[in-house]
């Protein structure tokens, strides 16, 4: 097995880290595919000349990420990981650094400005009707609640037909709201004179061009963009 250890300072990584890195490099270099049989714990321990406890810990990590699975009667096999499983586990706003939290806040804005092409190439009449129903339900109050914001924007992501993208955004939303609430508490929310609400976005999506939609979205997100500018200064 080749290792990729040279990328990490050796004195900072534990034996378990080394075994884990070794195994991932081994799987990749041998092009193992989901369902392929893998050597067992004992064999790995012998080949790498490490204790079974270390191998068991490393395998447990790979099992958590969905890279491997243990099957009754079949032993250990390669599996199909959830691409976002690891990200999901670290999205705790108390432990991420402020820089990372601000990065995530900005990433939402980037994603919403960038999704226009796929929205227009994939939207259906049924999607638009559903969006209109969501907006109608929300129209009685001047500012939507966080839950209503999430419902509307999640439907937009959903319309791109890109499941990973939609899930990625759903994972990032609580972090986005966490950062937003910090600004709010510090009375740093900017005003947005020509604010566009959800109904304006739907209108652009229904009968406008990609550029009309992007302009509407940009105005809708303007207060958030202003917040990121305060932050850069």
């Amino acid at each position: 097995m080749n290792s990729k250890q040279s990328l990490t300072p050796l004195d900072n990584i534990s034996m378990t880290d080394r075994v884990e890195n070794n195994l991932r490099a081994y799987f990749l270099e041998n092009a193992f595919k989901p369902g392929d049989s893998l050597p067992g714990e004992i064999e790995i321990a012998e080949k790498l000349n490490v204790s079974r406890n270390v191998v068991r810990e490393a395998l447990s990590r790979l099992r958590m990420l969905g890279i491997i699975e243990s099957r009754t009667r079949r032993g250990m096999i390669m599996a199909r990981p959830d691409i976002l499983g690891g990200l999901e586990r670290v999205l705790n706003p108390f432990i991420l650094g402020n820089d990372t939290l601000n990065d995530v806040f900005e990433m939402r804005l980037i994603l919403e400005m960038g999704m226009a092409e796929f929205l227009f190439s994939r939207k259906t009449d049924k999607d638009i009707e559903e969006l209109e129903a969501i907006v109608k339900k929300q129209s009685s109050i001047p500012e939507p609640t966080i839950e209503e914001e999430i419902e509307f924007h999640t439907k937009l992501y959903d319309m791109t037909g890109n499941e990973t993208f939609t899930r990625f955004q759903i994972l990032l939303l609580p972090v986005f709201n966490h950062v937003f609430n910090i600004y709010k508490k510090e009375n740093k929310l900017p005003s947005a004179p020509d604010h566009i609400h959800h109904d304006g976005i739907v209108k652009a999506l229904k009968s406008g061009t990609v550029e009309d939609f992007r302009l509407a979205m940009k105005k809708h997100l303007a207060p958030y963009f202003q917040m990121t500018e305060q932050n850069s200064n």
Copy 2:
């Protein structure tokens, strides 16, 4: 400790999964911050009434993600995880499903269309000079190599000043290229009659508007957008 186990079918998850989920929920609910002392392996095993081996495996998973660290003389402490560490570990194109690979391919296009606002609010003269130097170096050949593509686009991401965003893209690039090469092998690459090269993008970024830049980028990425349309049919 409360658990979030109700979100996962109980019969499918192992005792290690349950301990890991329990610990993450416990950290979040108690708002532990990086540097805070945590209970040790023995104490956790006693409180959860599980074996030390199971706790050791669960802790090893959390250590891998950077959620906890073991410090000499201080015992176990809460740490600051790398938000993309888990994602990095599963980005093996042989084990991700085709749907996920195509999702990642599309996400790159979304990110590049969505980054314009931050590029314009943060670009510096020095950035533009560096981009021009990169393009000049590449101009001798009609089509840039994958390495040159990466150099140019990574510099763009870099200019947004958003480190997480830049790293996210660098992680996704090999998957993007993997999908691209599959199309290429199947002779499914579309032609792009009004293709815009890197020099056109830099020109828009240097002396144009956000909209000019986005139009240039859209034309530059047009062959990739066409590929995603073949794929949807």
